[in-house]
Symmetry: C2
Subunit: 333 residues, 2 copies
Amino acid sequence: MSEFRQNRATKEWVIVAPGRGKRPTDFAKEFIKREPLPPHKENCPFCPGFEGQTPPAVYQIPQTGQWQLRVVPNRFAALSPDKPVIRNFTGTFLSANGYGIAEVIIESPLHNKTISNMSVDEVTNVLFAYRERQREISGNRNINLVTIFRNHGPKAGTSLEHPHSQLIATPIVPPHIRYPIEQAVLHYDKYGSCVYCDYVSEELSQQERIIIDSPRFVAFCPYAARSPFETRIYPKRHTASFVSASESEIADLACILREIILRIRIYLGDPDYNYIIRSSPIGDEDTRYLHWYMIIIPKISTPAGFEIGSGIYINTVAPEESAKCLREVKISD
Amino acid sequence: MSEFRQNRATKEWVIVAPGRGKRPTDFAKEFIKREPLPPHKENCPFCPGFEGQTPPAVYQIPQTGQWQLRVVPNRFAALSPDKPVIRNFTGTFLSANGYGIAEVIIESPLHNKTISNMSVDEVTNVLFAYRERQREISGNRNINLVTIFRNHGPKAGTSLEHPHSQLIATPIVPPHIRYPIEQAVLHYDKYGSCVYCDYVSEELSQQERIIIDSPRFVAFCPYAARSPFETRIYPKRHTASFVSASESEIADLACILREIILRIRIYLGDPDYNYIIRSSPIGDEDTRYLHWYMIIIPKISTPAGFEIGSGIYINTVAPEESAKCLREVKISD
């Protein structure tokens, strides 16, 4: 029996249609384990010794000596902060020059590290670097939106093996971001509360999709997940932007993120995935109706014509089932 | 030099960043030609002789005798029309049972046909079948949206080789469809014209992205194309729904669609692709502010964390360049 489900925050619909596709356990068999990577690779632009292949670091941990993490401008950036933002019309078509900031967070000097085999301290450093870069870039009056994301594997859009994440900061806030904000405002005006706070407490009260419930965060496969094993992590404290995450929140999030990625890795056999941190636009960090969160998407299904055409995703694994599978994974540490 | 470009109709933004990725000619080399398919394959559920593996046809050309095209309910449908549509709340989460109609258009008895090697008459039959099915289903008071699409190849979401398209009809009209409608209404109220009519005439006046300009249709790589070689076909006559396409429009569209797919096939070496026909919701067929169209998306780039997170797509081939490449393809017939 399939059903339509509506995302309470964005009003988007999905079709949850289990039984139609594979059983969740089928996904677990599908992935061929990757070849183990070497700890160091000649000519990898992100390995120590090849720092000259990237622009100089804009941020580094530790600040001096052998780096454990470095942030560099993306040498192949789609955007650049060289010229001021100018909007322009060609006939009736609107454009703006490609102003923006694109950075790469090189997460470790070791070529074979990844979130799931890092220590909690190492993941904490990664998240800390995200926050510091987002904070600094938020001071740029031309930037209105910061998107932080990690692409793991070719199906997630990267062929670079060395562990890294990215940050792209744009002057543009697109409809994809604005529409959910409009819905959040409507909700706030109607109920007097943040729709994400309400949505998280509903997930907590229904329980069955929760994977980890910690004092500061909750991780779950959302009621209206668009694809199998899609997982979200929300801070319990109402905060609109990741820039406001406290030290203790970052340390907690590091534990939870690492554990979720590890559970996905163990259950699904190291699938490609994307994760994204979504924050309010810059200047709206204190707003009462928005809430930052992380979304983790294992790339195990392919959006086809129906998804592209209608925006309705067909999810062949009920999120209750996805959550149960990930919850029951045995992890040794 | 990259730039942001806004889709005049939907207000979505893309980043056009050529030079960053490959040259358009690089795409042309990338695809390994598929193994030629046999004209008939044992146990293909869509090949003649195996009709028993699908539900009975709901539509067929010709009506009697050996079929040239048949439409059958999708045996693995994510939706079914068995029970009435009922919306339901689980706590504060909204759902509706999986009511809907899912059909497969089996486009030819020959296993090795596809749009680009069919005759124009055969493609005309395919489009004619789409329209007839959409017309019939539009009479169902529970259905509000019909999406017609074709998935070609595994990256486009199908593993079935036999030439086929799909139709999915839903009671739900999701935000993905509603938001562009809101924008079209705002445009209509401001300018007194259909935003798509205006957008097509702007493309025609700028010329450089046009691939085919025929009396009834225009095919172009749109100004704010989200991915390389994305192509759209718009009817010049203002009509909100494909159900209103006339016999002569269908015959013309068949020529143009076939030629576009053939040009893509020749230039890119038979890439996977999706195409979609987008119509107004049912009941809005006569509206003055909407316009049906076809969108054709070769699957040659992978949306990554930035695209998923921000909704801003990075297109590494300028649509002017994509259009030029497709326009210059030499076709022999």
